[in-house]
Every structure is written in structure tokens, then in C-alpha cells.
């Protein structure tokens, strides 16, 4: 298929892998930040092409995985109201809240619609004027412009029965948190190409300078990822810590001006709770004062979440690269995609689900 097959060709992959092997003189640990990259790495078995000295660490870039338990509980509370239609991306429906997930709310009669585009929520709102339509707006910088456009159009069309439950995350503060953590094992980063398509990559410079880590903006196809790794290893071997752009066919240094302007108009930066990681300052987005009327958290009186942290799942450690999915005693046993204990087992972009689905596993087979 055009624009895909070119980036999945064995000969090119092997050529890049050989070059990585040639220049690698000692062990390096590189984090791919985005869950989409993790998915491609395990699906295409890219680790099999790399020398043993290159260890890939899977980052926190899976929006489904990092959306907080409190936020899922709020979505569940809203979706349980008879006057509400909750619109959500499919992935979110299976993530467990404190007591249940959105699929269970749906099974119990809640009106939950799976969306393919946020704009479709506006059609639902227009078709159901006597119901409250709530869009569960989650994601990183990638999905934020589409949510911004949706809420702007809602105001233009005067849709008073429409609101957003916003759970948006920003990637750079998460990278900074990982760098600043004393336990961090990460020596170089593959930044998420699609996020940078929106934001550009100039703002990564202070991070690279301060923590002396190379950051390579990288795409999502096998060839992109291996090229990103090669660029990163080359810098590490040379003792450099620059920002480089592997994904130049999609990413400009300043990103997408239109999308950025829309984000600035609709959202403001806020502190954000990352599931399994904790609170990170200035790492989230919330609706700006001009759009506060569309904030579902203000529109509905929501009970305080009585969430209980039960240890057992090591998702926080996994998303910071401190441990691998297979290090978890529940992986493939009590925790499986059809019965996830933790969010990384839910989304196809979650490290655990990707490992479960694509990696040879002797223990998991026995259950």
C-alpha cells in the first residue's frame, strides 16, 4: 500500500539495523515515548533486529493508560445519568474505574456511543436536543486540536446540550519528570512524531540541554523507528545531546500554526494527574475561561471519587521505564486483555497489551 509499504521493507530495515550494530560500542537505553511506537516495535518484532546492547524502554505515551482513575470514575458517573449520552473513543470503554468500566455502564443501560471523530458528537447533540451530550475528550497534543475545533463549532452552533469531560495530557512535562527522576534509566528519547506534528519540537531544546539527553522526533513505521534509533545511538556514541527530526515528512520545527492557535484559544495549561505516575505540574489542558460553559465537570455535580489504590499492578514503573511488562507477576495470568487489572493492558498502545499480543510468552500460554 502506497505511503506504507515503503516504510516496511525488509531490505531497508536490515540495512539500518546493520548500521546500528556497526556503530554501537556499548549498552544504551532508549525510550520510545509514544504508545503507537511501542505497538509498532512489538508488532513488527523490531527488537529482533537490534543488537543486544540496545534496550528499548516503553514510555508513558498512551492516553488511555494515563487517564486517571478519578477521571474514569467521573465519566462513569456522568454516563450513568439517564439524561446523558456519553460519547467516547472505543479504547476508553474497557478501562476499569474504581468499581466498574464504561462497558458495564453500557450493559446496565447507560447510553454510551463510540466515536470515530469528535465532530460526530455534535451531530449526536443536534439529533438529541432533550439530552445532555458529553464528549469524553482524552489524549495528548495530537487529539487536542480536534477537540478544540469541536467545542468551537459547538459554540458557533449554539449547542447548549453539549459539553466536554476533558482529560488532556502534554508530553514534554512527562519527559522532564522521567529525566528528573533519580531512578531514571533512560539515556535518549524518541519523541512522538504525531505530537510534534502539532507542537513542533523547539520546546524540547531546554530539556535536551539541561538533562544532556538526545531527543529524536520519530515516526511510527518500522523504518521510521529504526532510523530514529540510529540517529539517537549516533548521538549517544558521540556524546551529543541535540534535537533531531527523523519524521521530517510530517513535522515542521514550529509544528502546525493553525492547530496551535486553536489550542491556545480553547485550552489553558493545568496540573494533571497521570494514572500510575501521580501529579505532574503543567502537564495537562483544561478548557479556558472563554469556554468554561462547556466543561462537563462544572455542568454536572460529581461525587468525589472514592478511589482506592490497590497495589499489584506496576503500571507506573512500566510507564517510566523502570520495569518491563513481563516483570509483573500478574502479566498474562490475572491480568489479560479480556480482564485487565491495569490500563496498559487495555489499549493496543499500552505496553502490556502490546507485549501480551505480540511477544512469545511461555507463561501466558499455560493459563
Amino acid at each position: 500500500m502506497k505511503y506504507l509499504d515503503e516504510y516496511r521493507q525488509r531490505a531497508s530495515i536490515e540495512q539500518l539495523a546493520a548500521e546500528i550494530t556497526r556503530i554501537t560500542s556499548k549498552p544504551w537505553r532508549i525510550m520510545e515515548v509514544c504508545g503507537g511506537q511501542t505497538h509498532a516495535i512489538v508488532k513488527f518484532g523490531l527488537q529482533q533486529f537490534l543488537p543486544d546492547d540496545i534496550e528499548l524502554i516503553h514510555g508513558p505515551g498512551c492516553p488511555v493508560c494515563v487517564t486517571s482513575l478519578e477521571m474514569i470514575d467521573r465519566a462513569i458517573a456522568i454516563a450513568s445519568r439517564p439524561d446523558v449520552i456519553l460519547c467516547s473513543f472505543g479504547d476508553m470503554l474497557r478501562v476499569p474505574g474504581t468499581e466498574r468500566d464504561l462497558l458495564s455502564v453500557k450493559a446496565a443501560g447507560g447510553d454510551i456511543r463510540t466515536l470515530y471523530s469528535p465532530l460526530h458528537a455534535l451531530t449526536v447533540a443536534e439529533q438529541n436536543p432533550d439530552r445532555q451530550i458529553v464528549l469524553f475528550a482524552i489524549g495528548f497534543e495530537t487529539t487536542a486540536p480536534a477537540h478544540a475545533l469541536t467545542v468551537r463549532l459547538a459554540r458557533e452552533r449554539g449547542l447548549e446540550n453539549f459539553s466536554l469531560l476533558v482529560s488532556h495530557f502534554l508530553v514534554p512535562p512527562a519527559i522532564e519528570t522521567i529525566c528528573a527522576s533519580g531512578a531514571s534509566r533512560v539515556q535518549g528519547f524518541l519523541a512522538a512524531g504525531h505530537v510534534c506534528t502539532i507542537t513542533g519540537y523547539k520546546h524540547y531544546q531546554p530539556l535536551a540541554d539541561h538533562y544532556r539527553v538526545p531527543i529524536v522526533v520519530t515516526g511510527f513505521e518500522p523504518l521510521d523507528i529504526l532510523e530514529g534509533i540510529l540517529m539517537c545511538v549516533r548521538q549517544l556514541e558521540q556524546g551529543c545531546h541535540r534535537i533531531e527530526n527523523q519524521y521530517s515528512r510530517a513535522v515542521a520545527p514550529d509544528g502546525n500554526h493553525t492547530a496551535r492557535a486553536m489550542l491556545e484559544e480553547v485550552f489553558t495549561i493545568s496540573d494533571q494527574q497521570w494514572r500510575g505516575v501521580g501529579q505532574i505540574a503543567n502537564s495537562g489542558l483544561e478548557l479556558s475561561a472563554a469556554y468554561a460553559d462547556f466543561d462537563a465537570q462544572k455542568r454536572f455535580s460529581l461525587p468525589a471519587s472514592a478511589h482506592q489504590d490497590t497495589s499489584g499492578c506496576i503500571s507506573g514503573a512500566i510507564m517510566q521505564g523502570l520495569q518491563k511488562p513481563a516483570d509483573c507477576p500478574h502479566f498474562g495470568d490475572r491480568c489479560r486483555p479480556e480482564h485487565p487489572l491495569g490500563a496498559p493492558m487495555v489499549s493496543s498502545e499500552g505496553a502490556c497489551a502490546a507485549y501480551f499480543r505480540y511477544c512469545a510468552r511461555s507463561t501466558a500460554n499455560e493459563h
Partner: protein, 345 residues
């Protein structure tokens, strides 16, 4: 920094949509709730139909319910599907399909002209496959308690050969033949249900499979096992067959045909065509030395012209499916866990 995962266990105490998707959740439902109460020599075979010795005849019996929405979709409709689905289940035992029942569950308010169109379609499909609809039932449910129209068909067919066609007959060295490209039905339904518009049109592969199967047998191919690909797609069918035969299967990803329109739609939505539903495709396990003969027989039928060998049964002792991707690396295929949900970005 807190590294605990705030994840309590949730209990499934009610039926959810994922229980009907043909994946792991459904397998557990059947294993834990359904089969324990009705266990017998047939339910334990893990087959889509039961082969019954009646007098001197080997009769195959199966049933299937059809709850598709929308009722009419690009490439087919619920009436055609209700005939072909049951005919195909019979064909997968190598039987000649003969008689079908037809139960209609109608929702109050369903337009009569819609029902008329569906019945015309069923009649056409019955004529194409040479079966007769000989008995049935009609029920009406209140508005809001059905999705317009549900159809159940049961069918019987006759086995006219001496082969045993079953997962237990799968043998090491067998070639695995796939009868055409995968993923069309699921993507056509999804596109039509959600109003997604793609540059290249998507149409269901909905088709009757009894003629290619009977032609395969007539050509003298010693077929070991057949399985039509429905919910859960190619991957789930292969994993089920690996488990019920206790064999290890090796499949080459590049050998599995996927049309560009299905591939494109799947890439966009983050779905894997290996798990997308089909309604007119099957896999056949045949002795390796007969693979060419089988392909030649299948190539003569327009429905199976795109047949290809996609892999083989290995000497391995693990009941699993190894997928070799186009880059040459390997991974294990798994069943669909529950409902197939498009990813977020």
C-alpha cells in the same frame, strides 16, 4: 513518586457486547456457563455443527442467529447472510446443505416493505445454494426490544463422502489454504454503520461456500479440516483450530491477501485485518502434496479464485499460531480479547 497501579479487579456479572464477538470472552462464557449444563460428545468437539449418524446417513445439523445492523449493507443484507451463514457452517463439515428453517423476530414498527425485501433476498440465496426453507416461526417484540429484525436459521445437510473433516484430523505437514482476501465484511459493516466514508468503497464478502467445498472434494482432495472465518476473523479461527487440534501452525503474513481498501480503513482506525469479520471466506487444511490440486480446484470457482497457501502445520508440539511478518520476524497470534474497539489516535 507513586508507582502503584490504582487498579482494582472488576467483576463481569452481566452480559456485555464483548461476549458475542467470537473472542476470548465468548469462549469463557461457553466454557463456564453454557457447556457445563449441556455437555455431550458433540459439544466437546468445538465444531460449528454436529455430525449425527441417523440410520445409514451422516446428517450435519447447525444453527445460527443473525442480528446485523444495518439490515442492508454494501455487498449484502441480513436475508442473504442468514442463508449463507448456515449453509457455510454445514459446508465446513463437507456436507451438502439441504434444508433450512427460518425464524423471524420482528420489532413492532418494522416496515413491511423491508421485510419483503429481506424475504426476496432469502429466497434468492436459497436458490443459489440449492437449499429449501422448509419450516419457521414468526414472533413480534415491542418497539425498542429488537433491532428491526433478527433472523435465526437452522440447517441440515448430508455427508456424501467417507472423509472425516474435523480439527482433530489436522496433521503436521498440512498446508493451510485461505480462500481469498480477508476483512471485507467487518469493515463494510463498520463503515456503513458509522457513516464512515472512504475513498475506496468497501463491500462485504458475504457469499455461499458450499460449491467450492464440494468441488474441492470432487477433485479428490483429502481435506483434513475446514473452517469459515466469521467473527474474530482469520486470527481467531486459526487459534481455535490450533487449540482444538493441539498443533502448531505457522502462517506468513505476506501471503494473506488484504485489499488496499480494507488495509487502508484498518490502518486509519487502528484495527488489524486479521481480526476483522468475514462472511465468505474459509481456511482448508490439506496434505501438502495435495495443495496444488486444491488450489487448482478452488481457482475454477469465482468465489475462491483468490485462494492461496498461507502457511503450514509444523512439527511443533505447542498448540499455537506463529505469524511470520513481512520483515521476517515472528510473533504469536492470539484470539480477539472481547469487542473490537477502534483505538484513539
Amino acid at each position: 513518586m507513586n508507582t502503584d497501579c490504582p487498579m482494582p479487579v472488576t467483576q463481569d456479572e452481566a452480559i456485555r457486547l464483548g461476549h458475542g464477538s467470537g473472542g476470548v470472552m465468548m469462549q469463557h462464557l461457553l466454557r463456564d456457563v453454557v457447556f457445563p449444563h449441556i455437555a455431550n460428545q458433540w459439544t466437546s468437539q468445538g465444531h460449528d455443527s454436529a455430525t449425527l449418524a441417523i440410520g445409514n446417513s451422516k446428517v450435519v445439523f447447525t444453527t445460527d442467529s443473525f442480528v446485523v445492523s444495518p439490515l442492508f449493507f454494501p455487498g449484502g443484507d441480513i436475508g442473504e447472510l442468514a442463508v449463507y451463514g448456515t449453509v457455510n457452517d454445514l459446508a465446513m463439515s463437507g456436507a451438502r446443505p439441504l434444508y433450512l428453517s427460518c425464524s423471524l423476530i420482528l420489532e413492532e414498527g418494522l416496515s413491511l416493505s423491508v421485510l419483503e425485501r429481506v424475504m426476496q433476498s432469502m429466497a434468492r440465496a436459497a436458490a443459489v445454494t440449492g437449499v429449501q426453507l422448509v419450516t419457521g416461526d414468526t414472533k413480534v417484540v415491542e418497539r425498542g426490544k429488537g433491532d428491526g429484525l433478527f433472523i435465526n436459521t437452522s440447517g441440515i445437510g448430508l455427508i456424501e463422502h467417507s472423509l472425516e473433516i474435523a480439527p482433530q484430523r489436522i496433521d503436521s505437514g498440512d498446508s493451510i489454504i485461505l480462500s481469498g482476501d480477508v476483512g471485507r465484511h467487518g469493515m463494510a459493516i463498520m463503515a456503513s454503520r458509522e457513516g464512515l466514508e472512504f475513498e475506496m468503497p468497501l463491500a462485504s464478502d458475504c457469499a455461499p461456500l458450499q460449491s467450492p467445498v464440494l468441488e474441492l472434494l470432487a477433485a479428490g482432495v483429502e481435506v483434513h479440516c475446514l473452517r469459515d472465518l466469521t467473527r474474530g476473523g482469520l486470527a481467531t479461527a486459526l487459534v481455535e483450530l490450533a487449540e482444538s487440534s493441539g498443533r502448531e501452525l505457522a502462517v506468513q503474513e505476506a501471503a494473506v491477501p488484504v485489499t488496499e481498501s480494507v488495509q487502508g480503513a484498518c490502518e486509519l482506525l487502528g484495527l488489524d485485518p486479521f481480526y476483522v469479520a468475514n462472511e465468505g471466506r474459509f481456511v482448508a487444511f490439506v496434505p501438502r502434496e495435495q495443495a496444488a490440486l486444491a488450489l487448482a480446484a478452488l481457482a475454477k470457482n469465482p468465489l475462491t479464485r483468490g485462494s492461496a497457501v498461507i502457511g503450514n502445520v509444523t512439527e511443533g508440539t505447542h498448540a499455537q499460531v506463529i505469524l511470520q511478518n513481512s520483515l521476517g520476524s515472528e510473533r504469536l497470534l492470539d484470539r480477539l480479547p472481547g469487542e473490537m474497539l477502534p483505538r484513539i489516535c
